[in-house]
Symmetry: C2
Subunit: 434 residues, 2 copies
C-alpha cells in the first residue's frame, strides 16, 4: 500500500443503514412517496440489483461500482442566510433518499389545479442504481473574501483553492461552484430527472452554474473500459474493495472536522481531447505518449503477450539497448504512477463526455479551422487530501505529460464531499449546525 497517509486498516461496515422503500413511504406519507416501479417489476432481485442505499457512513457513488451514465452539476448559492442553506440541505437529503430508492418526490397524478412535485418522466422506470453524491466548494466558505455563512473558520485545510496549472484553459462558466451533486445511474433519464428535481428544490436559494453529463463506454464491470483515445483507462486505479487502501487514500480522518470524517475530496475536470489530432498520430507515437500498448494495455516495459499483460506492473527502470528508458520520461503512465509521486494515489471515477462539435482553430500545422468533436473525459477523482493527491500528481503532469498536446482542461473544481448521512440527519449537518 503506497499512499501518502498510513492509518490502521479498519474493516468497516460498508454503507450502513440503508433505508428501504417501505420505511420511506411510511415516513413521507403514502400519497407523497409512491414507488414508481410498476408492480410487476417489484421483485426482490431487481430491488437488490438496481436500488442502492443512500444512507450510510460514507456517501454512495464514490466506492460504488461505476454506473453506465453520469450527470454532474455545480450550483451557486444565491442566498447569504445559513438557514436557507440548512433548509436546502435538508430538502436535498430527503429528496436524494427517495430518488435513489425509486420513489417519486410527489404523486404524479392528483389535484389538477396543483403543480406536480415531481416532473414524472421516470414513472415506470427502475432507479437504475442511482447514486447522488454531494460536495461543497471552497467558495461556500469564503467568496471574494466574504464569509457569507459564518463557515470560514470551519473550512478544512485540505479544501484549498486549486492552483492554476500549466495549460489550464478554464472557462469561468464551467468552473467552480458553491455546491455540487453528481448523479450516477445506468439510465441518462434517471440522472437528468434526479438533478432536475434538485434544481427545482433549490429554486430561490441556489442556481445551477454548470453541468456535464457522461457515460462509460460499453459498460462491463469485468473489464477496464477504453477511453476516447482508444486506450484502456483505469488499469492502475486502486481497488475500492480494499478498505485499508480506501481509508489511507480516499476517506478523510479527523483532520477536516467531524463532518468530514468518512468524507472525501472530489476533483472534477472536464478534459477536452483533440480527437481529430490524436487520430492522425502514428500508432507508435500514441503508445509512447501513453506508455502502454493500445490493444492489450500492457506497459511498454512488459512483454505484450495477451490480455493479462495489462496488469503487469510498470517497470520504470527498464531501458533499451541504448540505455534509454523504454517507458519515455514524459509518458502519461510514468508521470501518473505512484512511484513517480512519493506513493500518492487517487481513486479515479471518470466518464467519457460527448458535447457534440464546436468550432476550433487548431494550434498545430496545417492550422485547420472548423467544427471538431467536443468530447473527452469528465475526470473525477477522490482523495483524502488533494494537496497530496491530485495537485501533487497533476502539477508535474501539467508541465511534462506528452499527452498535453492532445488534452485541455476546460473547467472543473474541487469539492469537499461530507461524510454519509445517517437516517434522520441531513447532508453536512455537522458543519452547518456546529
Amino acid at each position: 500500500m503506497s499512499c501518502p497517509f498510513h492509518t490502521p486498516a479498519s474493516r468497516r461496515g460498508f454503507l450502513l443503514g440503508a433505508g428501504g422503500v417501505a420505511g420511506l413511504a411510511a415516513a413521507g406519507g403514502a400519497a407523497e412517496a409512491k414507488p414508481h416501479l410498476p408492480p410487476l417489476k417489484q421483485t426482490a432481485a431487481l430491488q437488490d440489483e438496481r436500488r442502492l442505499p443512500f444512507y450510510g457512513a460514507h456517501q454512495n457513488g464514490i466506492l460504488t461500482p461505476i454506473q453506465a451514465h453520469t450527470y454532474f452539476a455545480a450550483f451557486d448559492v444565491a442566498s447569504d442566510r445559513r438557514s436557507d442553506l440548512i433548509a436546502l440541505m435538508k430538502s436535498w437529503t430527503e429528496a436524494a433518499a427517495k430518488l435513489t430508492q425509486g420513489v417519486d418526490l410527489g404523486p404524479p397524478d392528483g389535484d389538477p389545479s396543483k403543480t406536480p412535485s415531481d416532473s414524472g418522466e421516470v414513472l415506470g422506470l427502475p432507479p437504475s442504481r442511482l447514486t447522488l453524491t454531494f460536495g461543497l466548494g471552497p467558495s461556500l466558505f469564503a467568496k471574494e473574501g466574504v464569509d457569507r455563512f459564518g463557515l470560514a473558520s470551519r473550512r478544512p485545510a485540505a479544501l484549498v483553492d486549486l492552483p492554476r496549472f500549466v495549460g489550464d484553459q478554464l472557462i469561468p462558466a464551467r468552473t467552480g461552484g458553491d455546491l455540487s451533486v453528481q448523479a450516477c445511474s445506468d439510465d441518462p433519464q434517471v440522472n437528468l430527472h434526479a438533478v432536475r428535481q434538485l434544481m427545482r428544490l433549490a429554486d430561490g436559494v441556489a442556481k445551477v452554474r454548470w453541468v456535464q453529463n457522461g457515460f462509460v463506454p460499453g459498460y462491463d464491470p469485468k473489464v477496464t473500459p477504453r477511453n476516447l483515445m482508444g486506450f484502456k483507462d483505469g488499469t492502475m486505479n486502486p481497488s475500492p474493495t480494499e478498505p485499508s487502501v480506501m481509508q489511507a487514500c480516499v476517506w478523510s480522518g479527523d483532520e477536516g472536522g467531524a463532518w468530514m470524517k468518512g468524507g472525501t475530496y472530489a476533483v472534477v475536470r472536464p478534459i477536452r481531447i483533440a480527437l481529430e489530432h490524436w487520430d492522425r498520430m502514428h500508432l507508435g507515437f500514441q503508445e509512447q505518449t501513453v506508455g502502454r500498448r493500445k490493444v492489450s494495455g500492457a506497459p511498454l516495459s512488459a512483454a505484450d503477450d495477451g490480455v493479462a499483460a495489462e496488469f503487469t506492473p510498470l517497470d520504470l527502470e527498464a531501458t533499451d539497448k541504448n540505455g534509454d528508458p523504454i517507458i519515455p520520461e514524459n509518458a502519461h503512465v510514468r508521470l501518473a504512477a505512484p512511484q513517480s509521486n512519493d506513493g500518492a494515489q487517487i481513486l479515479r471515477r471518470g466518464y467519457a463526455y460527448d458535447n457534440g462539435v464546436s468550432f476550433v482553430a487548431e494550434r498545430w500545422p496545417p492550422w485547420r479551422q472548423g467544427m471538431e468533436l467536443d468530447a473527452g473525459l469528465l475526470f473525477v477523482c477522490y482523495q483524502r487530501d488533494p494537496r497530496t493527491g491530485f495537485i501533487k500528481i497533476f502539477d508535474k503532469m501539467s508541465k511534462f505529460d506528452m499527452m498535453n498536446q492532445f488534452v485541455t482542461h476546460i473547467g472543473g473544481g474541487l469539492f469537499a464531499c461530507p461524510a454519509g448521512v445517517r437516517e434522520g440527519g441531513y447532508l453536512a449537518e455537522g458543519l452547518l449546525e456546529a
Copy 2:
C-alpha cells in the same frame, strides 16, 4: 389505413442480403477487417441480437426497433467534383457495412509508424445493434443556385426546401447540411466511434456541420417511453411491423427516381423544451396541453381506467356538459392526429437530447434569467413525402399547438434517405452514376 398515399400492399423481404462478418473479413483481407468482439463473446445468440444487417432493400435504422442511443451528424461537401462525392459514398458504404457488423476499419495494432485506420475505442465491444442511416440534403442538389454536382435535374420533387414555420428559431450552425448520417445503437461509444470514423473518411471532401446525440429514456421495447415532459410519447405512432402502412406512409415509390424507390424522407428537428417553465404548470394544464393524462397516457376523452387506456382511440368529438370539446381545440394530440390532417401519418423515431445547461432570458413573467436545462427532443420522422407528411401536419401545429409555449425548434433539416444498398453497390449509386 389512413395515409396520403395508397399503393398496393406488398409483403417484402425486410432487409435482404445481410453480409456476415465472415464474408466481410474474407472480402477485406484478414488483416484489414478483424471483428472487434472478443472470442469469448462470439456466440451465435449474441451475434443475432446485437448485429443488424447493413445491406438490404431499405436502409436500416428506419423501421428497426429503436436503439437506446443515437448520434446524428450533418455534413457539408467541401469539394464540387462529383467524383469526390462518389468516392466518399463508396468509402462510407464500405465502412458502414463493417462498423454495423462490429468490424474495425483496420487493424488496431500493426506497424507503429503508421496511423491506425480505426481509432480503436470500441475494441472488445459488441456492435450493440448499430445502424447507420444516410441522407442527402436539398443543398446537395443546388446550393445558392449553383448545381455543383450536376444533380439538380434529379432532385426529387418531395425534397423541398422546408418552409419557415411560425416560431422557428433555427440556429444556422445547427441547421441544414448536404449529407446526413444517423448512428443508432445501444452504446453511446459505439455511435460516436462510428460517426468519428465517417468524419475521418470524409477528410478533405466533407466537413461536419452539426451533430446532436440523444437517448431513449429507460429503454424497454414493450412500453411507450416518456419524454422529458413526463408524458408517454409515441402512442399513436404507426407500427413499423405493418408493411402496407409503411409502404403507404414511409417508403417512396417510383415518384422520386429509381434510387429513391424504397427510400424515404427524414425530417430532423432538435426541439428545446423549456423544462423549468413546464415544471411550474399545474397538472391539469399540462394534461390539457397534451390532450392526454400524464400517468396513464389515456386521451382526455377516455375513461382513465388503467394502463390499457393509453391505446384508447382519441374521441375528438367528445364534449363536456357545456358542449365544449373535452380534448381542447389546440391540444397537441388533436393537431397531430391523422383525423385532423386528412389522414396524414409520419413514422416518428425521436430521441431525448440533453446538452447540459445554457443561459436563457425567459420570455414570460417574472422574466427570469440564468442557466436553464438545454434539453428536449431530437425529433426524427420518416415519410414518403414531407409535403403531405411533416410539413402538412406541422404547419398547423406551429400556429396553434398549446405546447408551443414550451417548445422551440432550434435547428434541423430535411434529408432524402436513398434506398438500401445491395452488396457490391454503394449509397445513392443510382443517383450519382446516372
